[in-house]
Amino acid sequence: MSYKFDSDARYTENDEWARLEDDLVVCGITDYAQDQLSDVVYVELPEVGATVSAGDAVAVVESVKAAADVYAPVSGEIVAVNEALEDSPELVNEDPFGAAWFFKIAPSNLSELDELMDQAAYETYIEEREEG
């Protein structure tokens, strides 16, 4: 299986991606995650203004196969959510790194981003799981 990646993004062990844009950390789920979930039918987003810690479950993504929590990759305040996903959850399957961003965090500790995996490390992490 070959998956799409974004070389500008950082990755979590729970298959979220996080990308720094204009001092905000934009977050979503990876191409591998959407492929594992299959057709996404519902997305529940966090509330704008919520303060979150890295690792908090903040959103939910539901497919015909499973429901999964989406965790905050970094700590901070949720400053924007992608409401388009509520009406068009299929965007998560079609464009996971672009149109299907989930939320934007104003980070309280930007160094948390550096602790996440880069693309190469994440690719290895996926391969290990595929073999396992």
């Binding site: 299986m1 594992q36 057709d39 039918v41 519902y42 015909v64 196969k65 499973a66 999964a68 959850p89 299929e90």
Partner: protein, 480 residues
């Protein structure tokens, strides 16, 4: 396509002729009358034909093999139905004076006692309507007990990732917070992760044993001890009780509260065939919190209703799904203690025979195939040489072979999972025929993949569009 019964309706058609009333008519108050309540107007024969036709499109455990993992779709003996239809059980009302329903109350009392004995608990409430309802009841009991201990600040429930999917839902429903625990390489609870998660914010742990990986939790006693040492309580999900009856008792292993699925383990119809029943058993410390009323017995009063002193309250109207209790009671009495042990032994034997056959044929990976499984086995729909075939395709193709598909894509921690539970009531030949079908499907996957992608071919309807149904559900019938 079968029409909706509303589409069969003709104005003025009647199924029954009621006699003229022999008492004065009392008019229904004007404000309770409504005209927007359309009921189908059909004859008795139309009703019978409509539902018989629908039933013939259905698949049932009385038609064929139904290895739906963790649902324990065992054969439901017909003697259960005979018992449930006895007038003393079928023609009574829950508001009757207890003196007039002593037989029914005796059955409930003895069922409480028998379930307590089977699973090693001091007290049992028959109130909850089904498994998840029992879970919610159990979590509320744990919470009440922690508050009584002066530990009301505890708000977290630990749930291993190999637990039933309802466990996190029940926790959330009860207002508590879920903390997921990983499994180790052997499919057991990761003890290091458990130790790290245990602190004074933990109400308790919810554990499914055998787990949804079809494995007996090898550290179950240690897991319970660790939780108890940290001041927590242990909830046991009894959905997989069919693997261990008469062999070990959850109460003896250190579990404090557990629900039973009478509709699984004790052979009452479910999966569209009838309501469930999810009694909850507890150790002595938790007995005062059980939902009431319970049935008690003493010489003066006979069988009578009692309320546990600090009960969490009612969780259901009246006395639970009584008809299901009669069937479960009949099943237990028909088997006796030795028979129930034999049930579990045969359930585990059948699952292991199925696992051994699948392993021998070599088509489907078995993630924990090196371990003896319990009453169910998890295999993966990852076929070499057929990478574009997924578990869903295999499941749909099994329908063409005359089998109900197993549970699929669960547990979530196993990619492309097929969760197969043959139960003890299936013959060796049926299990072999099922594995033959799996093998034939693996062959088709490599040579004629379109057969799988387009399956089922032989069912009343073809492949349903699950995605469209979830994204654009139509929840109200549109008149023809």
């Amino acid at each position: 396509m079968e029409q909706f019964i509303y589409d069969l309706s003709q104005p003025g058609r009647r199924g029954v002729d009621l006699p003229d009333p022999d008492v004065p008519e009392t008019p229904i108050p004007q404000d309770l009358l409504r005209e927007d309540l359309p009921l189908p107007e059909v004859s008795e024969q139309q009703v019978v034909r409509h539902y018989v036709r629908l039933s013939q499109k259905n698949y049932a455990v009385d038609i064929g093999f139904y290895p739906l993992g963790s649902c324990t779709m065992k054969y439901n003996p017909k003697v259960n139905e005979r018992a449930a239809r006895l007038p003393g059980f079928a023609d009574i009302h829950p508001l009757q004076d207890p003196a007039t329903v002593q037989g029914a109350m005796q059955l409930m009392y003895e069922l409480q006692e028998m379930l307590g004995e089977i699973a090693g608990f001091d007290a049992v409430s028959l109130q909850p309507s089904a498994g998840a309802h029992g879970e919610l009841t159990g979590v509320l009991i744990m919470r009440a007990a922690q508050i009584a201990r002066g530990q009301g600040h505890r708000t977290k429930i630990l749930v291993p990732d190999s637990a039933h999917g309802t466990n996190p839902a029940s926790t959330t429903m009860s207002g508590l917070e879920v903390v997921e625990l990983p499994s180790d390489a052997n499919g057991n609870v990761d003890l290091e992760a458990l130790r790290a998660a245990l602190d004074d914010t933990v109400v308790g742990l919810m554990i499914t044993n055998p787990s949804t990986l079809g494995l007996f939790e090898q550290h179950i006693v240690e897991v319970c001890e660790l939780v108890h040492e940290a001041g927590g309580l242990v909830y046991g999900d009894g959905a997989n009780l069919n693997a261990i009856m008469g062999i070990c008792r959850p109460g003896d292993l250190g579990i404090d509260v557990m629900h039973f699925n009478l509709h699984k383990t004790f052979s009452t119809p479910h999966g569209g065939g009838g309501p469930g029943s999810g009694p909850v058993g507890v150790v002595a410390e938790l007995a005062p919190y059980l939902p009431g009323p319970l049935v008690a017995l003493d010489e003066d009063k006979g069988y009578h209703w009692v309320w546990p002193e600090k009960s969490i309250g009612r969780v259901r109207s009246f006395h639970g799904n009584f008809g299901v209790m009669v069937r479960a009671y009949t099943y237990i009495r028909m088997h006796g203690a030795e028979g129930l042990r034999r049930v579990s032994e045969d359930a585990v034997l059948n699952a292991n025979y199925l696992q051994a056959l699948v392993r021998e044929r070599g088509d489907y990976p078995i993630p924990h195939g090196d371990r003896t499984c319990m009453h169910e086995v998890i295999i993966q729909g990852k076929l070499k040489g057929a990478e574009d075939i997924h578990t869903l395709d295999i499941a749909k193709r099994l329908i063409d072979y005359g089998f109900h598909p197993p549970t699929i894509y669960f547990p979530l921690i196993v990619p492309e999972a097929l969760m197969i539970e043959p139960t003890e009531t299936e013959s060796k030949e049926t299990i072999e025929a099922f594995v033959d079908a799996l093998t034939a499907i693996a062959q088709e996957a490599r040579t004629q993949p379109e057969l799988l992608h387009e399956a089922p071919h032989a069912a009343p309807v073809r492949r349903l569009d699950e995605v469209k149904a979830a994204r654009q559900p139509v929840l109200v019938r549109k008149p023809a």
